[in-house]
């Protein structure tokens, strides 16, 4: 791959636009990263919404090898009768929340229905476990294929080593705290610092790529009775099939949290610039203001 050698630090041939002479353009995302990013985005959209459909078929999560009722649940989302009235109740451990209208009990064509996730969060919108599963596994395969391409490219092109590895100074508490404070004030890096991922970005991307996404795949496979016979060690690793199902849900929840933060940061730190860099590869660096 020719673009594999393009480090984020490498200036682009057309270094700056005439209208903005001080702005520098860098080649930020290689072609493989850009393509797999968008494939992943589409996959995750379908996987999350079809996953919500699948969850609706049995809206309770357990720890352990087995679990089939609403006793000793880690989480449940369903209609329960409270003072003679149907309410959508979400239970997480000892916490009990009335989530009527969104989780547990929500409207479908105007009528209240006992469903964990509302119609607008599931594929298809109506209750259809078979269809939800078909969408889920179809996009799971594409996600795995695209993920493999991304990982092989990331290691062989040294993209991970160069752009995602944490330097010693970056993980010092003072530095981390400074970055968190800057992000909270929406002060994003400029000049030289903007040419690299900052530490929070590295932690977030690294956490998703090397922890959450592999966890999604492995906990998903642990729910498969066929794959259990192939690799029973996964049952021991995650503490059982129902534990794996719970972990699958928790990591999906964290992934959605990442996506929300990611989209917020994309919008707040320069939407057009960010989107262009993930489509064409080029990213404009705002110069540092002279002190």
């Amino acid at each position: 791959m020719t673009d594999a050698s393009a480090a984020p630090q490498t200036p682009a041939p057309a270094a700056s636009s005439p209208a903005n002479p001080a702005r520098e353009r860098i080649y930020r995302h290689s072609r493989v990263v850009r393509i797999t990013h968008w494939i992943n985005a589409i996959c995750l959209f379908f996987l999350v919404a079809s996953g919500a459909q699948i969850f609706n078929a049995f809206p309770a999560l357990h720890w352990g090898q087995a679990g089939h009722d609403y006793k000793n649940v880690f989480l449940s989302m369903r209609a329960e009768t409270v003072n003679g009235q149907a309410r959508g109740i979400t239970r997480i451990g000892p916490i009990q929340l009335d989530t009527t209208g969104v989780f547990g009990l929500s409207r479908n064509n105007g009528r209240f229905e006992n469903r964990a996730f509302p119609t607008w969060m599931t594929i298809p919108s109506w209750r259809d476990l078979a269809a939800g599963r078909r969408w889920h596994f179809f996009f799971a395969w594409i996600f795995v294929a695209s993920g493999l391409v991304y990982l092989v490219h990331g290691f062989t092109s040294r993209h991970f080593a160069r752009d995602l590895s944490l330097k010693k100074d970056e993980i010092k508490p003072r530095h981390l705290w400074q970055e968190i404070a800057d992000h909270a004030r929406l002060r994003f890096p400029k000049g030289e610092a903007a040419k690299r991922y900052n530490t929070l970005q590295k932690l977030a991307y690294g956490g998703v790529v090397f922890v959450l996404l592999p966890l999604m795949l492995l906990t998903g496979l642990t729910m498969s009775p066929g794959f259990n016979a192939v690799a029973p060690v996964l049952l021991d690793l995650f503490g059982g099939r129902q534990s794996a199902r719970t972990l699958h849900f928790i990591s999906a929840f964290l992934l959605v949290g990442f996506i929300v933060l990611h989209l917020a940061m994309v919008i707040l730190s320069g939407l057009a610039n960010n989107i262009r860099s993930m489509i064409k590869g080029y990213y404009e660096i705002e110069p540092e203001k002279p002190a």
């Binding site: 959209f45 379908f46 919404a49 699948i54 969850f55 078929a57 049995f58 309770a60 090898q65 087995a66 679990g67 089939h68 009722d69 607008w120 969060m121 594929i123 298809p124 919108s125 109506w126 259809d128 476990l129 078979a130 269809a131 599963r133 078909r134 969408w135 596994f137 179809f138 799971a140 395969w141 729910m223 498969s224 009775p225 066929g226 794959f227 259990n228 016979a229 192939v230 029973p232 049952l235 099939r241 129902q242 199902r245 989209l263 917020a264 919008i267 939407l271 057009a272 989107i275």
Partner: protein, 250 residues
Amino acid sequence: MIIKSLSRRGLILGGAASLAGCDQLQQNQSVTDFIRVGENLTKSTQRIFLSAQPLAREFKPSDISPTFRANGTTSPSTDEYQAHVSTGFSEWRLAIFGMVTTPATLTLAQLKAMPARTQITRHDCVEGWSAIGQWTGVPLRTLLAQTGVTTGARFAVMHCADVMNDGARYYESIDLFDAVHPQTILAYDLNGKTLPVANGAPLRLRVERQLGYKQAKYVTGIELANSLAKFGGGRGGYWEDRGYEWYAGI
């Protein structure tokens, strides 16, 4: 610039609109047919990994679920079945026919006299729940060794006594790969006691590396066949005819 005018609200509305678009995709038959490639890919991949026929995990007696949840039919309503309940299934027969060299009709007493296998396994419902139970029964491969299987036979189709709410009779099918697996049994005992009606009395298939809807209850016959086209809706099972995958290993 269009991109700059995209607000967060716009993104959320866009998201909701694209989910509505998914409903349209869902109603498009060629799209739903196309995404079935996922099922074939899953089946062929799992079969490569399962080629050495590994066993499903077997659990300790202490892992057995306090109650074994029953789904689907919990008591077939036909007079014929209820008559069998009242006679303690003494008149129940299991017919093995179709592409076999010697068709057979067996009573429960004959089945129980054959070498049995007992296994404590996990039952995974397609809905997402699971329960652990101890099953005792005759390995299907023992039965097929007695009847013999004609060349060209590919599937074992389970005929069942329960009629579903929509009037269709329940049936299921597995291929010979799963039929000859040592843990594939016709179970007559659950947790050391006679199989309860809710869980499929008097005979239930256990095919431990697949989901619950493959574990046909109230089995009256096993037909060996080279194609699934002539049974039910042609997709190999009651739930398969209603959209679920024939290969339920995931």
